[in-house]
Each structure stands twice: as structure tokens, then as C-alpha cells.
Symmetry: C2
């Protein structure tokens, strides 16, 4: 690319970024004044300016990168508020919540597809689209409510990591079935690689940084530990993505590693502006992907209602069971906290659509389900907290 073509592109991108940020913040402002959770306003602002309604902004590659950085910095901040010891304390329960919370919705979605008479591949993708929780959405709501360090919140976060590992492994099986076939070796490698990455970073990373805290301090290129911490966050996010995990798992682990150091309050303070700037793009981007046009007939709406009800009920039941041992209010908090599918459902739908397995209607239905489960969580969690 010649610089000038890029320069014209950069100007267009500047206008788009301004419009999206302004719309998201106005949406948030409106929701706050109505006493509603702010991220709902940011998502609806995305729907409003997107192709469905006003058509001012299309979701494009640059916005996708800003959305990705938004959820990366979001989970980094969440990690900064998480302590490894606390996470270990909820380990067993988080494992149960994560495991059941993936399996039941997957089975439910698959059975629903089969009952509708869809083919094997479509049913598998429907199951896959329902299985994974969006840790970003729930984390944002809990942070917002100041409930980021309750036992329920830690259970949700631990479960979200487990959820992501199992869901990605299952997804690689589903994609294999609809494509070149399943290689047990590659699925096994993904699973083993993920577990090793998480284990090494969470345990060795924390110990290393605790022993050599100067890593955050030594560089003379920054007054605070912000940039070394940001580099750690981006680096681990990139590695997680390369392994096949969600990048946000790496960002979350990076935050947790920095949280063990003396510098963590300083980094928390310094990262705030990045946390204010990027995440609105993430929420608005979810809204930008909604296609109201494809949902504008009774059949599609009925399907959307059915899939959404299934997505909510299966996740609620599975996570309620998994969270046994907590008091009822906390169990409900964990269960509702795991409901939002957010960007994960949209990504699975996108994979199915690119592979030619899912048609436009089902794509729109899954995206609609992802957004509806996301919009339901904030007010429910607010009431429970």
C-alpha cells in the first residue's frame, strides 16, 4: 500500500472512530440518565448507527481491531483486580461451572437443531454458538457495580477461563466435522497447549514477576510501570491468540500477574484512560453486527425467541448446579453472570457462515441471541448485587 492510499484510509478511519465513540458515549449517557446499565446504551448505539438502522457505520477491519483491544484492556483490568490465591480458592467450583456451563448449552443447541430437522453440521454449529460465555460483558458489568472481587465474581472469572478452553476445543471438533475431518492430534494439542499456557503464565509468571519486579520499573522509557504492563498484556494476548485461545485469556492472565506486584495500584491508575478509550468500541461493535432486516419475519423471530430461551435456560440451569455450595443469591449471580454470549456467539456464527454451513437467517438469529443474552444480564446482575 502506498502511504497516500493509507492516508486517505486513515482519514476515513478517524471519522469512523469519532462517530462510533461519540455514539457509544451518547448511548451510555442516555442509559445512565434512565438508570439503565451503561453497556446496554453502547450496544444499542452500535445497532442504531449500524447497517440495520441508520447505516452510517459498517463494521470493518479497523473497528474490529479497536473492539479487540477494547475487550483485551477490559480483561486486563479485570485481571488486575484478581488474586491468584483467591482464584485457586474457587478453583473446583469454577471448573464445575465452566464445564457444565459449556456442555449443557452445547447439547441443548445440538438437540434443538436435530429436532428442527436440520443437518448434523448445522446442529453442531448451533450447539457451538450457544456454549461459550462472553467473559468481557459480565466482567464489565461486575466492575461497573463494584462487585469485581466477590466470591461469585471470582467463580465467574475462573469458570470463564475453563469455559473458553473447553469451548475452543469443542469448536475445533465442530469445525473439523464440517471441514476436513477431525484430527484427534490437533484437538489434543490445542487442549494441551492451552492448559500449559495458562498454567505456566498463572503460576510461573506470577513467581517470576514477584521475584524480579524491576521488569516493570527498569525501562527508562516510561515514568510509571504502564507501558511494560501494557506490553505484557498485548504480548500474552497475542500468544493466547496464536495458540488458538481467545486473546482475552492472555490479557486476563497478564493482569493477574501484574496484580501480584507492588506496582499494581499504580498500573491500575495509569491504565484507566486506555480502559475508558477502547472498550466502548467493543460494545458498539457487537451492536454493529446486528442485522434487524434478516429478523423481520415471524419465522425468524420465532426461531430467535426459541434459541434465546434455550441459551438462557441451559446456561442458567448448568451454572446453578455447578455453583453448588454458594448461598442462593451468589448462585443466582454466577448463573446469570454466565448467560451473556456477546462476541463469542457472534464469532462462532461467523465461522459457520464462512464455512457455508449456516445461512443468513440463522446467522442473524445467532447474533440476535448473542446480543439479547448480553442485554439481559446487566439489569439482572444489578438487581442481584
Amino acid at each position: 500500500m502506498t502511504p497516500v492510499a493509507a492516508a486517505a484510509g486513515a482519514q476515513d478511519a478517524l471519522v469512523t472512530l469519532f462517530v462510533v465513540l461519540l455514539a457509544a458515549k451518547l448511548g451510555e449517557e442516555g442509559c445512565r440518565r434512565l438508570g439503565q446499565p451503561p453497556i446496554i446504551g453502547e450496544i444499542l448505539a452500535g445497532v442504531l448507527i449500524g447497517p440495520s438502522v441508520l447505516g452510517i457505520v459498517e463494521p470493518d477491519a479497523v473497528l474490529e481491531v479497536f473492539a479487540e483491544l477494547g475487550v483485551v484492556f477490559l480483561l486486563f483490568v479485570v485481571g488486575l483486580e484478581s488474586r491468584l490465591a483467591d482464584m485457586r480458592a474457587v478453583g473446583g467450583r469454577a471448573l464445575r461451572v465452566g464445564l457444565l456451563g459449556v456442555l449443557l448449552p452445547f447439547v441443548g443447541g445440538f438437540a434443538f437443531g436435530e429436532a428442527l430437522g436440520e443437518g448434523l453440521e448445522v446442529s453442531l454449529f448451533l450447539g457451538a454458538a450457544l456454549m461459550a460465555t462472553s467473559a468481557g460483558i459480565t466482567s464489565a458489568v461486575l466492575l461497573e457495580l463494584g462487585a469485581g472481587d466477590s466470591a461469585a465474581a471470582r467463580t465467574i472469572l475462573g469458570a470463564a477461563v475453563v469455559d473458553d478452553v473447553i469451548a475452543l476445543t469443542l469448536l475445533s471438533v465442530v469445525v473439523g466435522v464440517s471441514g476436513d475431518g477431525v484430527s484427534v492430534t490437533s484437538v489434543g494439542l490445542l487442549l494441551i497447549g492451552s492448559v500449559i499456557f495458562i498454567g505456566v503464565v498463572a503460576i510461573a509468571g506470577s513467581r517470576l514477576l514477584a521475584r524480579y519486579p524491576a521488569v516493570l520499573r527498569a525501562p527508562s522509557f516510561t515514568e510509571t510501570g504502564l507501558l511494560p504492563a501494557v506490553l505484557l498484556c498485548l504480548g500474552l494476548a497475542a500468544v493466547a491468540g496464536e495458540i488458538g485461545l481467545a486473546a482475552i485469556i492472555g490479557a486476563f492472565l497478564a493482569g493477574m500477574v501484574v496484580a501480584e506486584t507492588k506496582e499494581h495500584t499504580e498500573v491500575e491508575e495509569a491504565v484507566k484512560p486506555l480502559y475508558a478509550f477502547f472498550p466502548p468500541f467493543f460494545f458498539a461493535f457487537i451492536g454493529l453486527n446486528v442485522d434487524l432486516g434478516a429478523l423481520a419475519d415471524p419465522g425468524a423471530l420465532g426461531l430467535l425467541a426459541g434459541v434465546t430461551a434455550l441459551a438462557i435456560s441451559t446456561k442458567l440451569i448448568a451454572c446453578w448446579i455447578g455453583a453448588a455450595g454458594l448461598d442462593p443469591r451468589e448462585r443466582a449471580l454466577v448463573a446469570f453472570g454466565m448467560v451473556p454470549r456477546g462476541e463469542v456467539g457472534i464469532i462462532v456464527a461467523g465461522i459457520g457462515s464462512t464455512a457455508g454451513v449456516i445461512d443468513d437467517e440463522l446467522f442473524a438469529v445467532i447474533v440476535g441471541m448473542a446480543v439479547l443474552t448480553t442485554l439481559i444480564a446487566p439489569p439482572t446482575l444489578k438487581r442481584l448485587v
Copy 2:
């Protein structure tokens, strides 16, 4: 685009952003330890990881956007440290420096092209590539040296605004000559539009915000005035770009407008992390555009030496004359401060290359000149300050 294609793109972009930021910061670290100005390290890191040497990173559309936001936030911070009254006090001198500083290098470049026997169009583009100063580079150096609010610094900034308006008007003439012909109306409209935009924002904008400071405070979506200020910055940058000005002029004016408010120290503090995160992409991106391969023969190197010497000498002489009235040290500071061509030279070369007027060798020579004039300024300014 389907979300999944974008998701893969977002993962690649994440890796690239990490690599570029890491390289830029390591380059800066090395330069600091050697007692050299940090931005030199960031630019050279870009050259090193770019297509010329290691070939790890190609300059692409996403990096271009991050580079653009880098220089936008850079000029916003510079604007925050500038007072309208101080700018007015240096107005006449800044006008002379800006005007002479564009005209002499333009005439020099044009004459050089004609002397080499190049065609009219090539000569015009050579003149255009030499004429405009990169306000971003000089501002970064002055900020770094803590000399952002001297009379010389204000003269440079005022001159850079004048420089940009005149240079862009001239550039539209040059592009017209090599394309569909020059329309006096459109050139006139660009000039008038620019002057009106700058005048209205600088004067009315400051008064409006001084009268209604609540604009930065009223939204409940942010604890500090950061996001409203960032929106003002991005908005004015986008408008400036749409008019045909450089986006950074809008960002600079936005900073100057916010500087007149009570909130300015708070915004200055809050914007620091954005200022730490984005500008390294700008400096590294300049280095990424360098093509050492195309410069690897004696003819090209000779041409590069000649063009660079011309770029430096014409700008120095013109701005030295324009800065009459300051003491000699300050005149030298202004003159050397106007030398860096940075991204502006690269953009003009890109336009000429896209239009088919400039060949690959001359493109590489102009980019090389832009980088060399940029590398010369920081150590010189450091000595003068």
C-alpha cells in the same frame, strides 16, 4: 466482512501492534541509554523491523490508523500546553516563518528538478515534497526537552499551522497540474475553508468553552473530563481532515481550546497514558516506510544527499530570515525546529507515486530525505535548548 474473517485479522493485528510497540520501546530504551533522543530509537526500530531489514512487519492500514492517532494525540498534548494569547503574540513572526519556510524549499526543489532535466510534473512534486514541516516531530522533541512553552516553540507551532495551510493549498495546485488541471475555485475554497476553520475554532471555540465549561463535566459517562476532551480532539481532527487540512491541525486546536478551561491540568494528566501508547506507532511507522533497497546504488545515494542538503539549507535559511527579531539562539532553534519533514514528505511522495509521476527511486529518495531531516533535528535541538 464476516466477523470471523475479521477475527483472524484482529489476531494478526494484535501480534503486529505488539511487535511494533515492543520494538519502538526497545529502540527508545537503547537511545536513552546512549544519551540519544528517544524518537530516533523509535524511528530506527521501525526501519529495522520493516521491509528494508528484517521484514517482520509491513506498514499496513491498521498501523497507519494507529500512527495517525499517535500524531493526533501528540499534537493534542502540544495544544494543551499552548495558550491562544501566547500564540497571538508570536502571530506576525509565525506567519513570516511559515510563509518563507514553505516558499523557499518549494522553489528550491522545483529548480533542482528542472536543473536535473526532470519534467515539469516531477519538478513540481519535488518542490512539494520539500516544502512542508512535520509539526509532530519537532513538537515531540520540544515536549521531551521541556521546552514546549518558549517563544521559539510557540513560533514553531504557529508557523507549522501557517505552513500546513499554505503547503496544502500549493499541493492541491501541484496535484491539479499533474491531473485534471487546476481549478482556481477549488483551490480558493480550500484556502478559505482552512482559514475559516482555524479562525472559528481558535477564537469562537475558546470563548464558547470558557463560557460553558460544563461541556467537559456534564456527561456522567466519565469521571474526569478526559473522554469529552478526547471526543473534541478526534472530532476536530476529523473535520480538519475532511476540509483537506492535516488532521493534526484540528487536534492541536482542540488542545488549545481545552487549555483555556479550568479542567486543562486534569485533562493533561488523564491523557498521558494515551500519549504514551499511541505516538510510538507514529514514529515507528515513519521508519517502516523506508526502502533501503531502492537506495543501494551510488546514483540514488547521491540524489538523496543532494535533496536532503537542499531540504535542510532552504528551510534553515528561510526560517532564520523569518524569525528575525528573536535572539540568535532562538532564531537557530526556530530554523532547526522547522527542518523535519517527517510524515508530510512521505505523504506527498505517496501522492506523486500513486499519480504515476514519481518513480520508485525518487519515492525512496524523498522518504529517505524525510527521515534524515527528521533524525537530524532532535540532537541539534537538544544542544540548542
